[in-house]
């Protein structure tokens, strides 16, 4: 037994090679950067390009390792390498490259190294969340995402709004981490182990063999509520979303882009690992709920998140706040997938729909932020709606790209956003479960999702209207050079958004195999 555990521990390194590459690059950057900057904080011009390229190379290496890695049997070691791990790893590496491109010119030369390093550390943290097979490891990975995020929010621009945004994020993030830890401790108390595989085993067998019904154990109920609350912060699920608009507004645009996507990946993957252990496992394990309380809780969370996100977004006049609330509402859509996916497996999987939507959402939201970065004027970022006025006259190609992303966020064809919503509709409608008599909650969810899709159209359309139907406010010539990296990122996202509509087969098949 001990030898076995030892071998598992030793073998674990093999399972996280891409993350080791990323973290090694982080160390190199942190160590080397101070030597290239003078005492007064001045760096040779153009140094940021070198750090950007280094990040891309590191991501490419991690990608190569990812491509050559395979599934590993589930053990009691600290890491797993199953379908979900590989899926998330691929997603982070691709979206990480796009984020590096977005961040390219956001930090000045002297602070570029540290902020790029933080970004890579965050990406490694996301991968480790997906690879964690132990509550302790899971918590460490979650913190590996959180702590560099504070720096990432602050480093590029150290003005008052950025400080305020960072402080807000910092305090709430600490609070949510504490709640998650609290939940973990109850889970440990109920099962007597921190190993996820062992916990799953305990649930699967204890519940049916012995008389004790583990899912109904009050300790587990407390743990579930705490975990959902703590991870809800990362999803920006209502009522844990309060920080989002302020932070999006105050933080640099690339950091807002990162926040709109990466924490959602983290939150959903962690929830999937804890609540739906069958996801992505090579072995066939029963899909189970941790506790009956989870479903109604998540149901209400999804409904509140969709409605609050969309209704609040209707009232915004600041583009970044608007996108913040839009990201809240999309978290609600994805929660719909999670809720219906947690039920006994049906013909169309809600989890599959959720994972598909996650990819699509990444492409369209990062694309939208990429356009915002590329469209910024030399003296001013894109902040209020007025800054976008008449963009179709001044920068027609950018306006066209942004409208494609916005139509995709609305869920209109021919964009991938349409197929994403369509999958959620199908999953929710085909599930048909009832948790109280005569109340078909998943179909209600589908209907509410439909209402929200129509609500959302209003503010996305408002943005498009501002770009196309209004005249530019500031007509002076802009001398700023082309923002090439974020343009490249926008084009990549555009290709994904449109491409996934016409050829969704590969991704669809892949995410479905993760849950079956």
């Amino acid at each position: 037994m001990n030898e076995d555990a030892l071998r598992n521990l030793n073998g674990a390194v093999q399972l996280v090679l891409p993350e080791i590459v990323l973290l090694a690059t982080v160390c190199v950057m942190f160590l080397a950067a101070p030597f290239l900057v003078s005492d007064r904080g001045e760096a040779p011009a153009g140094l940021r390009h070198r750090w950007g390229w280094l990040s891309l190379v590191a991501l490419a290496m991690a990608g190569w390792l990812w491509w050559n890695s395979g599934l590993a049997p589930r053990t009691t070691g600290p890491f797993v390498s199953d379908g979900l791990t590989l899926f998330v790893r691929g997603l982070t590496i691709v979206s990480g490259a796009i984020l590096v491109l977005l961040h390219w010119n956001q930090a000045d030369d002297s602070r570029s190294a540290e902020s790029h390093a933080c970004l890579l550390a965050i990406l490694a943290g996301v991968n480790l969340v997906a690879a964690a097979n132990d509550l302790v490891m899971l918590f460490v990975a979650l913190e590996l995402v959180s702590i560099p995020t504070y720096l990432f929010l602050l480093l590029p621009r150290r003005d008052a709004p950025a400080q305020e945004a960072t402080l807000k994020y910092f305090l709430l993030s600490i609070f949510s981490s504490a709640i998650v830890l609290f939940g973990f401790s109850y889970l440990y108390g109920a099962t007597g182990t921190t190993n996820l595989t062992a916990i799953h085993h305990a649930f699967a067998h204890h519940a049916f063999a012995a008389g004790e019904d583990l899912p109904h154990n009050p300790l587990v109920a407390v743990a579930t509520v705490m975990l959902i609350a703590g991870l809800g912060f990362r999803l920006t699920a209502v009522p844990f979303h309060f920080y989002a608009p302020d932070v999006f507004q105050g933080a640099p645009t690339s950091a807002a882009a990162m926040l709109s996507f990466v924490p959602k990946v983290v939150g959903f993957v962690a929830l999937l690992r804890l609540l739906v252990p069958a996801t992505g496992s090579a072995s066939t394990m029963h899909a189970w709920m941790m506790t009956p309380a989870a479903t109604p809780l998540l149901w209400w969370l999804a409904v509140a998140t969709m409605f609050v996100g969309n209704l609040m977004a209707l009232m915004q006049t600041d583009v970044r706040r608007l996108l913040a609330f839009s990201s809240v509402s999309h978290a609600g859509y994805m929660l719909v997938g999670l809720v219906v996916g947690m039920q006994a497996s049906q013909t169309v999987s809600g989890i599959g729909a959720l994972l598909f939507y996650l990819v699509v959402y990444g492409a369209m939201t990062l694309g939208a932020f990429a356009v915002l970065i590329a469209a910024a004027r030399s003296d001013k970022r894109i902040e209020s709606l007025d800054d976008l006025a008449g963009l179709s006259r001044t920068k027609p190609a950018l306006a066209l790209m942004l409208s494609v992303f916005l139509f995709s966020l609305t869920g209109l064809p021919p964009t991938a956003g349409f197929l994403g919503k369509f999958n959620l509709f199908v999953a929710a409608w085909s599930q048909g479960f009832e948790w109280s008599e005569g109340f078909d909650s998943s179909r209600w969810l589908a209907c509410l999702l439909g209402v929200n899709a129509a609500l959302g159209a209003w503010y996305y359309l408002k943005l498009i209207g501002v770009m196309y139907l209004r005249d530019p406010v500031d007509r002076s010539e802009d001398v700023r050079p082309m923002e090439v990296p974020s343009l490249v990122a926008a084009v990549l996202c555009l290709a994904a958004t449109v491409g996934l509509f016409f050829a969704p087969g590969a991704l669809w098949t892949y995410v479905q195999t993760l849950v079956s």
């Binding site: 169309v348 209109l412 021919p414 199908v426 899709a453 159209a457 079956s516």
Partner: protein, 573 residues
């Protein structure tokens, strides 16, 4: 050679891409010539496709389902089964096809697009490349809707048409354009989201039913396959009713039927002329076409028992209400917009008569309304370009000053009113005859709309064209009559109005097999409903009441020749 008809769908979009990507700053001259050539080419291709279509042999009625495209191209879009053994063996497809009804609508679209380009020739001066690109993209979307034979693909094109029209109204429209574009977009989108949910529900229930009967459906999203399956294995009645209401929601907004019509006058008034032409001419038909393509063949029981009373009542209210609203207008464009509400009421009345005369009349009315209202909007646009006003109170006695325009206006108004010998007559009469057979009350009430229609349109003619000359005094250049381009804009539409009025038979023959395949379904629905009760009720049935049994029997024998006497007898004055 099916590839030609794929070319037809995407040719306008390709031209639009050319305009936008290669030549975004093109001078108006180049942009409009490109657009004109593209629409002309599309029209020629569609005529070639039509000749190919007519050369194909007709499928025997017993070998086809209720929906049966004579030409088709299928390409797998998403094969769900690949995901693993537990996934349903279902495919989504890029399934494009053509049957008689869709061919007629495609031809209408390609012809109206030419007029739409010509009518914007001088009125659109700024951002013309983008304008024509939107118009061409809209054309692709519209042709796509009519050619889509996969449920999801249908919905994709259906939704997609919103985007170019939103820009057309929002950028090149009148003073309230932004509000109008937003309202139009949100209103129709909200309706069609419900439709999407309904369609998903329909597919899921059919798929489950198919699994239960032991013949799983590999392509439940393909409209012909689904319709054929549902014709043999109808869904339960209550489910059909619920599905009908959900699916109809989006189409009722699009048509628009009475309580959902408020977006239409606003959008019409604010849209540029070409936008109004396409909106009235083709976009509204997407709603009626949706009913015809999705509701009628798939949910016969619900159409018969829920749809007929509901839609007929709403249509009648729409006819009368729309006509009275039109009577009250001072703005000619708004008047024409409200007349659309009334005319589409006739169309729906015909379709929901659910017999061969009614549906044929409804389809014909779709084409007629496209031609005559399209021409009316063109004329209103030409008017506005000259006088910069559309107010009836500013105008009078223009027939002397603008004789050709006056002739065109009188002619188009008569076509729209339904004067015998012109196209409107055939469609209205067939629709009303169809409805009369089902429920005389709706038909009689609807017929009153014909009188009201004559009232408001003749009122316009009298006020604006005859009587003492009255012109707005300022704000316009010297007035000249129609030039060659404007004549070319109107001529094809007017020629078609006469041709369809005098010789409706070729069009009726074109759509007949598809219409009869649908009505065959309804003969069965009525027979099934009556069969058990007729036995018990034989004593209680009063001799004066028309027996429904005979009506059903009538209908079964009727399809083959029902349209011919109705038309040849009354179509020619």
């Amino acid at each position: 050679m099916p590839s030609l008809f794929v070319v037809m769908i995407f040719l306008p979009a390709a031209a639009a891409a050319l305009l936008l990507l290669l030549d975004a700053k093109a001078p108006p001259v180049r942009a409009r010539w490109t657009a004109l050539l593209a629409t002309l080419a599309t029209c020629l291709v569609s005529l070639a496709v039509a000749s190919q279509f007519l050369a194909l042999p007709e499928t025997h009625p017993n070998e086809r389902g209720p929906v049966h495209p004579r030409m088709e191209v299928r390409q797998v879009w998403l094969d769900v089964a690949q995901a693993g053994p537990s996934s349903p063996a279902v495919k989504l497809e890029f399934y494009l096809g053509l049957d008689g009804i869709s061919l007629a609508m495609v031809l209408l679209t390609t012809i109206l697009s030419i007029s739409a380009v010509l009518v914007s020739w001088t009125s659109v001066r700024e951002r013309s490349a983008e304008f024509y690109a939107s118009l061409l993209i809209l054309e692709t979307g519209l042709i796509g809707v009519f050619c889509a034979f996969d449920l999801l693909l249908f919905y994709v094109f259906f939704e997609f048409t919103l985007i170019p029209l939103f820009f057309m109204v929002g950028i090149w429209g009148g003073p309230l354009r932004r509000y109008a574009a937003g309202k139009f977009f949100i209103y129709t989108l909200a309706g069609s989201v419900i439709t999407l949910l309904g369609l998903i529900w329909l597919v899921i229930e059919s798929y489950r039913l198919a699994l239960a009967t032991g013949h799983p459906l590999a392509t439940p999203f393909a409209i012909p396959d689904l319709a054929r399956f549902l014709a043999e294995n109808p869904l339960p009645a209550e489910l059909q009713a619920a599905l009908f209401l959900m699916i109809a929601a989006g189409f009722m907004v699009k048509v628009p039927l009475f309580p959902f019509h408020t977006w239409l006058p606003l959008a019409h008034v604010e849209a540029p002329t070409a936008g109004s032409v396409m909106l009235a001419g083709v976009l509204l038909k997407l709603g009626t076409y949706g009913f015809l393509r999705l509701c009628l063949p798939m949910l016969p029981h619900a159409c018969e028992h829920t749809g007929l009373p509901l839609i007929a009542a709403l249509s009648v209210v729409g006819i009368i209400y729309g006509s009275f609203c039109a009577l009250a207008q001072n703005d000619i464009k708004k008047l024409v917009a409200y007349s659309s509400v009334a005319h589409l009421g006739f169309c729906m009345l015909g379709i929901f008569a659910l017999n061969t005369e009614g549906i044929s009349g409804g389809v014909l009315q779709m084409i007629n309304h496209g031609l005559s209202t399209g021409a009316l909007f063109c004329i209103v646009g030409m008017f506005y370009e000259r006088y910069h006003t559309r107010q009836l109170s500013d105008l009078g006695g223009l027939a002397g000053k603008l004789p050709i325009l006056a002739v065109a206006m009188v002619f188009t108004s008569f076509a729209s009113i339904g004067l015998p010998g012109l196209n409107g007559f055939v469609g209205e009469v067939l629709s009303l005859i169809g409805m009369f057979k089902r429920d005389p009350i709706y038909a009689v009430l609807g017929a009153s709309g014909v009188v009201l229609g004559a009232w408001y349109l003749l009122g316009v003619l009298q006020k604006a064209f005859f009587g003492p000359l009255q012109e707005p005094h300022h704000g316009h250049e010297p007035i000249s009559d129609l030039n060659a381009r404007e004549v070319a804009t109107l001529a094809p539409l007017l020629v078609l109005c006469v041709w369809l009025g005098l010789f409706p038979q070729p069009t009726l023959d074109l759509i007949r097999p598809d219409v009869e395949a649908i009505t065959k379904l309804y003969a069965e629905v009525r027979a099934v409903r009556i069969a058990p009760t007729a036995m018990n009720d034989q004593q209680t049935q009063k001799p004066g009441e028309p027996s429904v049994n005979t009506a059903a029997a009538d209908n079964e024998s009727a399809p083959a020749d029902a349209t011919k006497p109705a038309v040849s007898g009354e179509g020619r004055p």
